[in-house]
Every structure is written in structure tokens, then in C-alpha cells.
């Protein structure tokens, strides 16, 4: 095993999973939004909801396709690049991934077909039911994947024999100590992220004076959702952080760039962590801020980075900065959502053009927070791939460095092309707007269906 192969495999996994997580984040939130629109359509009979449902479903289809294909890559990379990981913890992590495929992936992929192509062919209630099933599928996907990831952070319910993990208690494996917090944090993040995309699209239509009815609906729904979920996310994040302090204290020490555990921790607004010198080269700090947040006591102590040998420390600067990017994006989302709610309350939401202009350009904010959050938690777990159990360096495959270099280059080129096209086409779909999508006649695919004959769209 040469070092190059390990480093390249890490880069490849980081790259492919960062690309992948964008799409599930969006589709978890969007499927729930589409199902909500469907229920509102059935209950009120208001065509506006149907038009919005159709509009977002087409965007969902493109995002979901990118999520499926980049997700298939992930399920094979465990073997191609991390075969020793697969062999050592496959008994425990494998079934969690297996259940994800069985319970969720099939549900989503199959019923998306009904949702996409069934309009005009199946009765409205079945379209809405399919939307709800797709939403359920995406959420169950998140459940299992986060359970697997959380087990890698806080392993439980297993016994180790000859370097191989064997399950002893499946409930303890699935509901491992960090899972509930991570799951809540991620699903809420997905809803928030999608909320800001919907907000941006509503603002864009409002500013352009197009599809104004739909734009108002989207703005109201997005503001209503994010004004509650953005502050809630801070609360969930705080609980998640305390859980991490209990189970992965060194990750917290890296997040706070806290070297010396014998003193209370400052909250560094900015710092330049120096891994070799074991201190921060530059600090702008709120004295004892970190102690206050983490122990609710300005004099409280929590472990520092120097409490473990250098070989057991994560790359501090990456963890430190990624966390601050996530936090900044989160605080911005809270401010933006609450200010939007304030404008709505004052009856000025649809007329405050500067606010709409800013929001129309902030569709990406949630994605940045999600990626930065994952970088924090994954880099913070290093040098372990499974905390305390298996080191990343002992997990990679016996694959030649040259092979990995080749495939990494191919992934970078391929994903760059796919991503640019994806953004371009989604932007095109958004540009066409809901009304256009609705004026297109949706003819039944095959004339023979009695349902299709009874149901004129």
C-alpha cells in the first residue's frame, strides 16, 4: 500500500461524496415540499398548487437523476477504494446501507416514475400519494445513511474479534449515541436548504413580475418554514455539539482550536491554528466563549487537543474553518428568515425589492452550510475512519496509486461537466416557470389506459 494511493483515495471519496450530498439534501427537502403542495391542491382544489407541484417535480427529476447516479458510485467506492474498511466493518455497516437500498431507494425510484409520468394517467390522489411516498423514501434514505455514518462516529452494539467488528445488538447499532442528533440536524438542514431555494425562485419571479401568484405562494411558504427551522437548527446544532463533546471531545477541541485543556476555552471568531506548534498563530476571540457554550459555565473545562498524541489529532485548520463557514451561513439564514417574517408581518414582503434581490441570489446558502458541516464532522473524526476502532490509513484498498489518480481525474472532469449542465438545465426549467409547464398538454403515454381516458388533464 503506497501513501499516494491512500491520499488519492481520500481525495476521490471526499470529492465524490461532496458532489453527491448536494442532491440528496435538495431532494429530501423538495420531495416534502412537493408532497405538501399536492396535499394543499387536493384539499383546496386551487390550480396554483397543482402548477407549482408540476413545476418543482420536473426540477426534482433532474436533481434526483444526478443523486441516483452519483449515489451508485458511492455504494461501489466502499469496495473499490476502501476494501479493508468493507471487510473490517461490513458486518455492521453493510446491513445499514442494505436497508437504505431496500426501504428507500426502490421506493423513491419507482414512485418517482408514477409522479413524473403519471399526471393525466392516474387519478390526482395517486399522484399526491406517490409524492408522499417519494418524500417518505428520501427521508428513510437519510435515516439509514445517517445511522451508518453516526455508527462510524460513535460505534456501539458491536464486539471486535481479530480486527473485525461483529454486531451484538442491532438497536444499539442503529440508534447509536450520535445518530438522533445527526439525523435531526441533517433533515432540518435539508428542509432549510430547499426552503432557501424556493425562497430564491419566488423572489426571482416576484422581481421579474412573472407568475406572481405562484411567487407569492412560494415566498409565504418558504418564509413561514425557514423562520421556524433556521432558529431551530441552531438549537439542534447546540445539542449535537454537546453530544459530540461527550463522545468525540477531540473533534470539539479542533472545532474550537482549543489546545490546552487545563484552561477554559475562548471562542475564536478567527484564528490561524498551527498544527506543529500546537497553538494558534493569530486569534480574535471572545474570552471563555467556548467554555460558556459547551459547559454553560465561563470557567468550565473541556479537553484540549494536546490531551492526545499528535498522531490522534484531526487536521485542525480544516475542521476549525469549515465549522465557522457553516456557522456563518446558519446565522445568515436565521437573520434572513426572521427579517423576511418581519416584512411579511408588516405587509411589505412582496414590495421590498432589495430584500427580494438579495434572496434571489442566495439559493446556494444552505448547500454551503451542509457541505461545510459535513467537512467539519468527517475531518474532525480523523485520523479514524471508525472512531477509536479503525484508522483511515488501515482502511484503503490494495489499488495502485496510478489507477486512483486516473479515476480521480475522470471523476473531476465528468462531475464538472455534469454539474455545469445540471445547473444550466435546472436554471432553464426555473426560467420556463410554472405557468409554462402547466400550459403544456400532458397527453397520456399509451391510449389504452382506462384511467387515462377517464382523466383529462
Amino acid at each position: 500500500m503506497d501513501v499516494d494511493s491512500l491520499l488519492l483515495s481520500r481525495l476521490q471519496f471526499a470529492f465524490t461524496i461532496t458532489f453527491h450530498i448536494i442532491f440528496p439534501t435538495f431532494t429530501i427537502g423538495l420531495s416534502a415540499y412537493i408532497a405538501t403542495l399536492g396535499v394543499l391542491w387536493l384539499r383546496t382544489g386551487d390550480e396554483r398548487y397543482r402548477r407549482l407541484m408540476r413545476f418543482w417535480t420536473r426540477i426534482f427529476a433532474v436533481s434526483f437523476a444526478m443523486g441516483v447516479v452519483s449515489g451508485i458510485v458511492m455504494s461501489y467506492e466502499f469496495g473499490t477504494n476502501w476494501s479493508r474498511f468493507s471487510a473490517a466493518v461490513g458486518n455492521v455497516v453493510g446491513p445499514l446501507i442494505g436497508y437504505e437500498v431496500l426501504t428507500a431507494f426502490f421506493l423513491e425510484a419507482t414512485f418517482l416514475g408514477v409522479l413524473l409520468f403519471g399526471f393525466g394517467r392516474v387519478p390526482p390522489w395517486l399522484s399526491v400519494l406517490s409524492a408522499a411516498i417519494v418524500a417518505l423514501g428520501t427521508t428513510m434514505s437519510a435515516f439509514w445513511i445517517l445511522s451508518a455514518n453516526s455508527w462510524m462516529q460513535t460505534p456501539a452494539g458491536y464486539a471486535l474479534r481479530d480486527g473485525v467488528a461483529y454486531p451484538t445488538d442491532w438497536l444499539a447499532v442503529i440508534f447509536n449515541p450520535s445518530f438522533p442528533y445527526r439525523f435531526a440536524h441533517m433533515v432540518n438542514a435539508a428542509y432549510l436548504t430547499t426552503g432557501f431555494v424556493v425562497l430564491a425562485v419566488g423572489a426571482r419571479f416576484m422581481l421579474a413580475g412573472r407568475h406572481v401568484d405562484e411567487a407569492r405562494t412560494m415566498l409565504r411558504m418558504a418564509i413561514g418554514l425557514t423562520a421556524i427551522l433556521a432558529p431551530l437548527q441552531l438549537l439542534i446544532g447546540d445539542r449535537h455539539g454537546l453530544n459530540t463533546l461527550a463522545h468525540q471531545p477531540i473533534k470539539i477541541a479542533a472545532i474550537e482550536a482549543h489546545w490546552d485543556g487545563s484552561k477554559p476555552g475562548d471562542f475564536h471568531v478567527f484564528a490561524w491554528p498551527d498544527q506543529n506548534a500546537e497553538r494558534n498563530a493569530l486569534e480574535i476571540s471572545i474570552p471563555r466563549g467556548a467554555s460558556l457554550i459547551l459547559t454553560h459555565d465561563p470557567n468550565g473545562l473541556f479537553p484540549g487537543l494536546t490531551s492526545v498524541p499528535p498522531s490522534d489529532r484531526p487536521p485542525v485548520a480544516i475542521v476549525f474553518f469549515a465549522f465557522r463557514i457553516m456557522l456563518a451561513a446558519g446565522l445568515f439564514m436565521i437573520a434572513a428568515a426572521l427579517y423576511g417574517a418581519f416584512l411579511w408581518w408588516r405587509g411589505a414582503l412582496f414590495e421590498t425589492r432589495w430584500y427580494l434581490r438579495v434572496m434571489a441570489h442566495c439559493w446556494w446558502i444552505g448547500f454551503v452550510a451542509v457541505i461545510a458541516g459535513w467537512v467539519t464532522t468527517e475531518s474532525g473524526r480523523q485520523p479514524w475512519i471508525v472512531q477509536g476502532l479503525l484508522r483511515t490509513a488501515d482502511a484503503s484498498s490494495p489499488v495502485a496509486g496510478g489507477s486512483v489518480a486516473l479515476t480521480l481525474a475522470l471523476f473531476v472532469i465528468a462531475y464538472a461537466v455534469v454539474f455545469s449542465f445540471g445547473i444550466y438545465y435546472i436554471n432553464r426549467l426555473i426560467g420556463q416557470g410554472p405557468a409554462d409547464a402547466a400550459t403544456k398538454t400532458v397527453a397520456p403515454l399509451g391510449g389504452a389506459s382506462p384511467i387515462a381516458a377517464a382523466q383529462s388533464d
Binding site: F78, T80, G98, L102, F106, T110, F117, A414, Y425, A443
Partner: protein
């Protein structure tokens, strides 16, 4: 329990792989036949015939890969590094064809996306054939880990299997079009199916002759007594099915050729299983050598036995919902 659990799992994964090969086979086949369509309207018609299904079809590939990891981590950890390049190439090809599929419905200029869709489909099929060939010809293993080089898989036999897979998926795709479309597209597919049937039979014969000659264990499996007494019907039935498929194409049948093509695939698959069982990593690791802990296999089995019938149920429901022909010029999405 330690004996039959791996057998059950081998059966389940074998079923998932067979379902994948048939289901994604015909939609990859559509991509392989894509360059031969004459107009964009014809291409639209071809694509629409598989549009509601392809996401779901590809999911079986995840179940194949994921299932192998769950049930046989020892095999997964050897096969994936051994076939590293073909596996990643297959995945990337699937990425391109998958997104080209969705983008094409939105895009105005379709030339590039047609190329990505058909090129990706053909490359994915080729890579899957290479993976199959790489497995059949054997993987060097030492201490339960892959012990070969980066290009150990690259042999003439693997290339032959890659070409065979392109022809096979093309045949499935053509028969699907015969069943699901009408007009010029269906008529052309019928002609293509005849040519592809010839190619598939050639490749099946080539693999059937090549493998027993190069692998003594395979020759022994088939020709040693009493095995031969039980196994001789396999090639005979294959020949009969091939004849039925040809007759179906000649006599204007619409559904029968697709069913016969599926049967042909399953028979070829059965032949490979007979040649290689119980090896998961020929010629050294069996299903029992590489099985996961019994607790893991049981935990996953409970869920699978409960959920797999449901999955099959709603897959059938979706195919039933979108039954019937796709006509030219119908709108989409």
C-alpha cells in the same frame, strides 16, 4: 445455519443481478441502438418507452453491489479492487447516460446529449461484460486480499465478454422496442433484433467453448459424469429458445421476442452459475469463505424477505401502469 445462509444469500444476490441485467439491460440497449434512429422524433419515442422505468432499473445495480457487501464482504473487498478500473468506468458511463437522459428532455440541442446517452450506454455495457469476464477468468488472491495488478483483468477474453454484453443488451433493447413502440422504430428494431440475435449466439458459443478449454474446473463441471447427464438440456433449451425468438421476429409477434430474449439471457446466466458455483471469486473463494457474520446475514435477510416481495409488487404495478405502446410524437414529462 452457517452452511445454508450463504446459499440463500447467493440466491438472492443472483436474483438481484439477473433482474438488473434484464431490466437495465433493455434500457441500456435503447442507448446502444440510439445512433441508428433516423430522426429526433424517433429517438424521443425510443427514450419515452423507458423513461418511467430507468431510475428504478438502475437501483437493482445498487442492490447487487450493496447486497454483495452486506452478505459477502470478503468477496466484495476482493472483487472491487481487482476490477477497479472497469467498475469505475462503468459507474462513470452510467453517470453520463443517466443525466443525459434527463437533460435531453429539457435541452433544445440534442446532438451532444444523444452522444453521451448512447456512448455512456455502450460503455457501461462493455464494462459490465469486462467485469463478468474478469470474474470468470479468475482473480489472484493472497490472504483474503486482491494480489494482482492494476490491469490483470485486461485480457482478450474480457474484451470478448464486453462485446458480448453490448450485443446482448442491444438484443434486449431491440425486442423491447418491438414490444413497446410502433411504426418505423418498431420495424427497424425488428430487423436489428435479427442481426443482434446472430451476434449473441456467436458470443454465447464462443464463451461456451472458450471457458471449458481454458478452465479445467469448468470443463469438469460440465462434462464429467454424472453431471453431463443432468446438464445437456441447458444448451438444447438455449437453442430452442433462440429458434423461438427468431420465429417470433419473423412472424410479426410483438411480445414473444422480448420474453424469449429474457429467457435467452437467463439461460446464459444459468450456464455461468453452473460453471462457477459455489465460487464467488473464482478460483479460490467460495460463498462460505467470504460470507458475513451469521448475525448480519440474518438481520438483513429478515428485512429482505419482507421487503423484496413489496418491491417486486410495486415494480410490477409501475410496469402495468405504463403498459401499452409509446407512439411517435407524444408529449413527455
Amino acid at each position: 445455519m452457517d452452511w445454508y445462509l450463504p446459499v440463500i444469500w447467493a440466491g438472492l444476490i443472483g436474483t438481484a443481478v439477473a433482474l438488473y441485467v434484464i431490466l437495465d439491460g433493455f434500457d441500456l440497449g435503447i442507448g446502444i441502438l440510439f445512433p441508428f434512429a433516423h430522426t429526433e422524433r424517433e429517438r424521443d419515442q425510443m427514450m419515452r418507452s423507458v423513461a418511467p422505468f430507468w431510475d428504478g432499473n438502475e437501483t437493482w445495480l445498487v442492490l447487487g453491489g450493496g447486497g454483495l457487501w452486506v452478505a459477502f464482504p470478503g468477496a466484495y473487498a476482493v472483487i472491487m479492487p481487482a476490477l477497479y478500473i472497469p467498475v469505475i468506468v462503468m459507474l462513470l458511463a452510467l453517470v453520463f447516460r443517466g443525466v443525459a437522459f434527463e437533460f435531453r428532455t429539457i435541452s433544445r440541442s440534442k446532438t451532444w446529449l444523444n452522444g453521451a446517452f448512447s456512448g455512456g450506454s455502450a460503455l457501461a455495457a462493455f464494462a459490465q461484460g469486462v467485469i463478468l469476464g474478469g470474474l470468470i477468468q479468475g482473480i489472484p488472491v493472497k490472504d483474503g486480499a486482491y494480489a494482482g495488478g492494476a490491469l490483470t483483468w485486461a485480457t482478450p477474453f474480457a474484451v470478448l465478454c464486453g462485446l458480448a454484453m453490448i450485443a446482448g443488451y442491444g438484443l434486449l433493447g431491440a425486442c423491447w422496442l418491438v414490444m413497446k413502440t410502433e411504426g418505423a422504430v418498431a420495424a427497424r428494431a425488428r430487423r436489428q433484433a435479427r442481426a443482434l440475435l446472430g451476434a449473441v449466439l456467436f458470443f454465447m458459443a464462443a464463451v461456451s467453448i472458450w471457458t471449458p478449454l481454458s478452465e479445467p474446473r469448468i470443463a469438469e463441471r460440465w462434462f464429467a459424469l454424472p453431471n453431463f447427464l443432468f446438464l445437456w438440456p441447458v444448451p438444447v433449451v438455449t437453442a430452442l429458445v433462440a429458434y423461438g425468438l427468431w420465429r417470433g421476429l419473423e412472424t410479426g409477434r410483438e411480445v414473444a421476442p422480448f420474453l424469449a430474449a429474457i429467457a435467452l439471457f437467463l439461460l446464459g446466466y444459468l450456464g455461468l452459475v453452473i460453471s462457477n458455483f459455489p465460487y464467488l471469486v473464482p478460483p479460490s473463494l467460495t460463498i462460505w469463505d467470504t460470507a458475513a457474520a451469521a448475525a448480519s446475514q440474518i438481520f438483513m435477510l429478515l428485512g429482505t424477505l419482507f421487503l423484496l416481495p413489496m418491491i417486486l409488487g410495486y415494480v410490477v404495478f409501475v410496469y402495468w401502469l405504463f403498459r401499452g405502446k409509446t407512439r411517435e410524437g407524444e408529449s413527455y414529462h
